[in-house]
């Protein structure tokens, strides 16, 4: 055991000298987080509303002015054709058409009221919903003002969540999962393929150190690095991006550890079939790229098309990301994410079996 620990120490010291590994291991994920954090891709932003004013009278001008006072709306005006084309292109979330007979006055009994037509974009349903709610509210207020009545029911809204869930909050567990995957697979693949090809392993096997001690040191070293990486990532997220880890930090770290074991096993299982340094990058992409996009690293898995769902649902990283996210942003306990834990354990067992069967040191 002393031999394993001392070897682990040597490996970790050498790792600290490896600029490339440090860059991809530590700096790269931080870069990702910084970039996406600044972009704030998940932010709701504004609702872009196109107005087609076919009335062109004082009342329609007053209505437009009322909408213009609402901060969330970004207004544009144009002809019906232009605005609907823009809507089709996704440049508008909503287009409202003010009819020619528009006026703000009580309708005579029995006569029809002017009808506002609302076109909603299906591309950004959330924005369209919010926009139409705002417009409905504006119309209601106008109606009450004209009919000089009070609303029958008043609605008072209170914010329940102390702070808005920002995109970085959502992103952080995804980046942690991604980093664990990348490090697990690449550190095994590049480390062992290179050392195997250059004869490093053969030279070490000419000493009396048992294979299991050699393997134990390499696995231990990689687990230590993975946990350090996760701590640094979360540290930066909390300090620099004001991310809040809602659930237990111990649960997050335990998940990170299980995830690291899983992806080291994936690494060994895959490396068993990689003979040369040249093949490694391609295989690496083949294994990690689908999970990068289908396992909810940067975006919610809601955007995954239906036909890819069956795959997305069972990818190793999906289980890890889901569990990390549930704990980190929804405050779930390990018991709440037991389904994901089962997924992680099953994948670990499968890849471990493949690794034991096919992975060779020489």
């Amino acid at each position: 055991m002393g031999r394993v620990l001392r070897y682990t120490l040597f490996l970790s010291r050498a790792y600290l000298r490896d600029r490339t590994a440090l860059f991809f291991g530590f700096f790269f994920p931080l870069l990702f987080m910084g970039l996406f954090g600044v972009l704030d891709l998940g932010a709701f932003g504004t609702v872009s509303l196109g107005i087609v004013d076919e009335a062109g009278n004082a009342d329609s001008a007053a209505f437009r002015a009322a909408l213009g006072r609402i901060e969330t709306l970004r207004l544009t005006e144009g002809s019906r054709t232009d605005e609907l084309t823009s809507l089709g292109k996704g440049e508008r979330d909503l287009v409202v058409v003010i009819p020619g007979d528009f006026r703000i006055a009580p309708a005579a009994a029995g006569s029809s009221v002017p009808v506002l037509t609302l076109y909603e974009s299906e591309a950004r349903p959330e924005q369209a919903n919010v926009g139409s709610a705002i417009i409905t509210q504006a119309v209601d207020q106008m109606s009450f003002a004209v009919s000089r009545t009070q609303p029958i029911v008043a609605l008072r809204r209170e914010a329940v969540q102390g702070r808005r869930l920002s995109y970085v909050d959502f992103l952080t567990p995804g980046i942690v999962g991604m980093t664990i995957m990348q490090l697990g697979v690449s550190s095994v693949m590049f480390g062992f393929v290179v050392d195997r090809q250059r004869g490093v392993i053969r030279r070490i096997m000419a000493t009396p150190i048992p294979r299991r001690s050699y393997m134990a040191a390499h696995v231990l070293h990689r687990l230590v690095v993975a946990i350090l990486q996760v701590l640094i990532l979360i540290g930066v997220a909390v300090l620099a991006f004001d991310v809040r880890i809602v659930g237990s930090m111990a649960a997050v770290l335990l998940l990170a550890l299980l995830g690291s074991v899983l992806f080291l096993c994936v690494g060994f299982a895959v490396t068993a079939f990689v003979a040369t340094e040249n093949a490694a990058p391609a295989v690496m992409q083949l294994v990690t790229l689908p999970q990068l996009f289908l396992s909810g690293v940067f975006f919610s898995r809601d955007v995954v098309p239906a036909f890819l769902r069956p795959i997305s649902d069972y990818l190793p990283l999906t289980f890890l990301n889901d569990a990390l996210r549930q704990v980190a942003i929804a405050g779930a306990s390990l018991g709440d994410v037991r389904g994901d834990l089962v997924g992680i354990v099953v994948w670990t067992a499968i890849t471990f079996a493949i690794a034991v069967r096919f992975f060779r040191l020489e």
Partner: protein
């Protein structure tokens, strides 16, 4: 302690249809510098790697430092030092860390600086091993091979690819190691190396030992069989010119 320190009997090894070793037998005496000499593919490396416990023979026996290699390969590994033909050290380690690391593999604490000094590398102790020159790397690998104070040192083509100065320096190193009591078994395909360095050589061809004796005795035997060649008495050769002009001092940095 008497008797051979390495004893090889009828070693056989095939890779598929290719017969690499077709019955190799020889003994190495304690304190000898012994060479396996032969063209590429003759079976030198296969023989040595079986003795080092890195490969298993199909048939035959090999005893190294009193231990049967097949029965206790790790026991043999404890008692020998090796330099492999095509191997490398892990990257991002300093030269002295490489020596210490191999000490860890043998479960020993070693004086890395002393070992590096013994191969003339004390000034390179703080350099990464991958930054060393070819000759320096060979010397580092000899220092590493000596961390467990081995009874037998195996060197597989130690001077291939080195310049004349580095070769001569390595020969001196090997002589020094033998002088301190370690038996040396090396492979080479350089005749001058075998002649200058070795007490006895076994000439290996097509997986068999075809001759085994002291270099001088082999030459005498050939002459006794009536061999002649046109002798041009040369007082010096091109290598002498080269060394005269460039000196004997090492310059691999």
């Amino acid at each position: 302690m008497s008797g051979p320190i390495v004893s090889v009997r009828d070693l056989r090894k095939s890779y598929g249809a290719i017969e690499a070793l077709a019955g190799v037998s020889f003994d190495v005496a304690r304190g000898e510098i012994f060479a396996l000499l032969g063209p590429n593919g003759a079976g030198k490396t296969t023989t040595v790697e079986i003795l080092e416990g890195l490969r298993t023979a199909d048939a035959g026996s090999a005893v190294v430092a009193g231990i049967d290699v097949r029965r206790d390969p790790s026991g043999v590994k404890e008692r020998i030092g090796v330099q492999l033909q095509s191997s490398a050290f892990p990257e991002n380690f300093l030269a002295r860390e490489i020596v210490q690391l191999f000490g860890v593999f043998y479960g020993r604490r070693v004086d890395a600086m002393e070992l590096l000094r013994s191969v003339g590398l004390e000034e390179k102790a703080g350099q990464r091993s991958e930054k060393l020159s070819g000759g320096q790397r060979q010397r580092l690998s000899i220092a590493v091979a000596m961390v467990n104070e081995p009874q037998v040192l195996f060197l597989d083509e130690p001077t291939t690819g080195l310049d004349p100065q580095a070769r001569r320096n390595l020969w001196d190193l090997v002589r020094g190691i033998r002088a301190r009591g370690t038996t040396v078994l090396l492979t080479t395909h350089y005749m001058d190396e075998a002649e200058a360095l070795c007490d006895r050589v076994a000439i290996v061809d097509r997986g068999r030992v075809v001759a085994l004796d002291a270099p001088r005795a082999l030459v005498d035997g050939l002459l006794a069989r009536g061999f002649t060649k046109t002798v041009v008495q040369q007082q010096a050769d091109l290598e002498d010119v080269f060394l005269d002009l460039t000196g004997h001092a090492l310059r691999d940095d």
